[in-house]
Amino acid sequence: MAEIRLEAIKKNYGRTEVIHGIDAEISDGEFIVIVGPSGCGKSTLLRMVAGLETITSGDIHIGDRIVNDLEPRERDIAMVFQNYALYPHMSVFDNMAYGLKIAKVPKAEIDSRVQEAARMLELEPYLDRKPRQLSGGQRQRVAMGRAIVRKPAVFLFDEPLSNLDAKLRVQMRLEIKALQRKLGVTAMYVTHDQVEAMTLADRMIVMNAGVAEQVGAPLDVYANPASLFVAGFIGSPPMNVLSHEIRPGREKLDPGAVIGIRPEHIDLVAPGAGLIDFDVAFCEPLGAETLVHGVTAAGDKLVVRIDGAVTLPADGVPMGLAIDPAHILAFDASGRRSEV
């Protein structure tokens, strides 16, 4: 059990700086998710915590130690890799027991710990198999098992579910969360999938191009994105971005500034009855909900999320949009949130 503190972490590869100074505090037992588009430096950050990459500058604290110069094995962490990184020539049992054998844990205890992990992960029938004789989901569980038998202070996950099919991904997501709760271990989890981030995280770090754009609880980040990037990245479909002012009693927006509004905060009403007018282009019925795509009178593209049970408006029909101005967020020309 441990808290983690990142202080002004930077990373250079040669001359290129890929992480530009990240600060974060992760409390004991917290599940923190690092989310961001591919190539933004999530893995690099996680690997620095693991000790697999050197830190160019800054400090990483795990528990009460600064671990900057410690070997991975001295950091009391376990990591689950995207490709699982199982030892292909060892049985499932040996894969899980490897770290314990190195730590010179007595044989009887190795046995009982591996058996317990296998029971928890429903791997008992496969202990004698080699990794290549397992399905993707089972390999994933072995990788998890290898991490939990060592009882580390911190779990690190680097996109552990991205090689699984969609259904299994949802199931494993729940299992990972349940397991982390049960064991009470601090977890850092990297993903590019914002839904995964929203569902798993106690708090999340939204990263973009080597910078932490926002740190916060999923729903706070969703409701109060600190930047246009976060507003667009978190939420599906993303927040609508309009370059023309629609709030009553206001002048034009500053050049480059925009306003944002989530698709579920808009209601379709009769033409002229809403805040602005809108032409329906087409509808995407998804069952529980329907996404209505269209263009505002000022020419901004916009998506409205409505209840799936409502009769669909026909393509090309003019409608009105009812919007509570309190839900409208403003962003300045640099993409930061602004109050006006």
Binding site: L52, P72, R73, M79, F81, N83, A85, Y87, H89
Partner: protein, 293 residues
């Protein structure tokens, strides 16, 4: 799933394999047949006629002290060449695998010895170790060690082993490096996180995962040591002193072409043939089973 090619023309498949069969026949089956045939005869001292002796040549061979010594010389030589060239190549490959910058330059440099013909490799080492003019022989003398492989059988063996192994290192290095690079980095990182030190990772993860490569190289190197080292031995020691570096293949040459005892030479070739057959079977049957995947 087996992939099968279906030919419409009956003769086309035969035509396509014909060149390979022809080469195999001319350069392998025919000489091998000749060797078996000749091993049953001895020529008279003037080479005018031959006399059928059945297994006489073989009987004589296995009663011959020099021939039996050549067996153990070959065994020692092959083990030394194989082990030293493979372990040195593996060491270099592990080092090169850790270098990212300039690795292609290292690789190219390390491949060069393989392009050197065996006889040239032999001459190269001979120059360095020539007891009178060789620079290394001179340096050894400066530290009080007398080097003369023309007199000392142990030194002669060491020199031909070194030259033969050196030439094969590049080849082994290439395969080991490719093998190392095929091991996913994350597997090794996982072991590091699991607490394994570098050597522990090497012996419990890397080495077992390299075993298909190691096995392949073992076969290639033993066969190399048996046959392809002829040029090295011929240029450096001519099998001497006192036959201390006369391996089986060199003895075939020495008895047949120098000693003109064609019957015995042919019989030795047959023995070699059988030996290589047995070695290959043993390697595939017993060692391959212990290879992972």
């Amino acid at each position: 799933m087996e992939k099968r090619v279906v030919f419409n023309n009956r003769w086309l498949p035969y035509l396509l394999v014909a060149p390979q069969l022809l080469v195999t026949f001319v350069f392998f089956f025919w000489p091998a047949g000749q060797a078996i045939y000749q091993s049953a005869f001895i020529p008279d001292p003037f080479g005018l006629k031959t006399q059928f002796v059945g297994l006489g040549n073989f009987e004589y061979l296995f009663g011959n002290r020099y021939y039996l010594e050549s067996f153990s010389t070959t065994a020692i030589f092959s083990v030394l060449v194989t082990v030293s060239s493979m372990s040195f190549a593996l060491w270099l490959a592990v080092l090169a695998d850790r270098v990212i910058k300039g690795s292609s330059a290292y690789r190219t440099l390390l491949i060069w010895p393989y392009a050197v013909a065996p006889a040239i490799a032999g001459v190269l080492w001979l120059f360095m170790f020539n007891p009178f003019t060789g620079i290394i022989a001179w340096m050894l003398f400066q530290v009080g060690y007398v080097w003369n492989h023309n007199l000392d059988g142990g030194q002669a063996m060491a020199l031909v082993v070194a030259a033969s192994a050196w030439k094969q290192i590049s080849y082994n290095f290439l395969f080991f490096l490719a093998g190392l690079q095929a091991i996913p980095k994350s597997v090794i990182e996982a072991a590091a996180i699991d607490g394994a030190s570098f050597w522990r990772r090497f012996w419990t993860i890397i080495f077992p995962l390299l075993s298909p490569t190691t096995f392949f190289l073992l076969v290639v190197n033993v066969i190399y040591a048996f046959f392809d080292t002829f040029g090295v031995i011929h240029t450096i020691t001519q099998g001497g002193p006192q036959q201390s570096t006369t391996i089986l293949v060199y003895k075939v040459f020495a008895d047949g072409f120098v000693g003109q005892d064609l019957g015995s030479s042919a019989a030795q070739s047959v023995v070699l043939l059988v030996l290589v057959g047995i070695l290959t079977v043993v390697q595939f049957r017993f060692i391959e089973r212990r290879v992972h995947y």
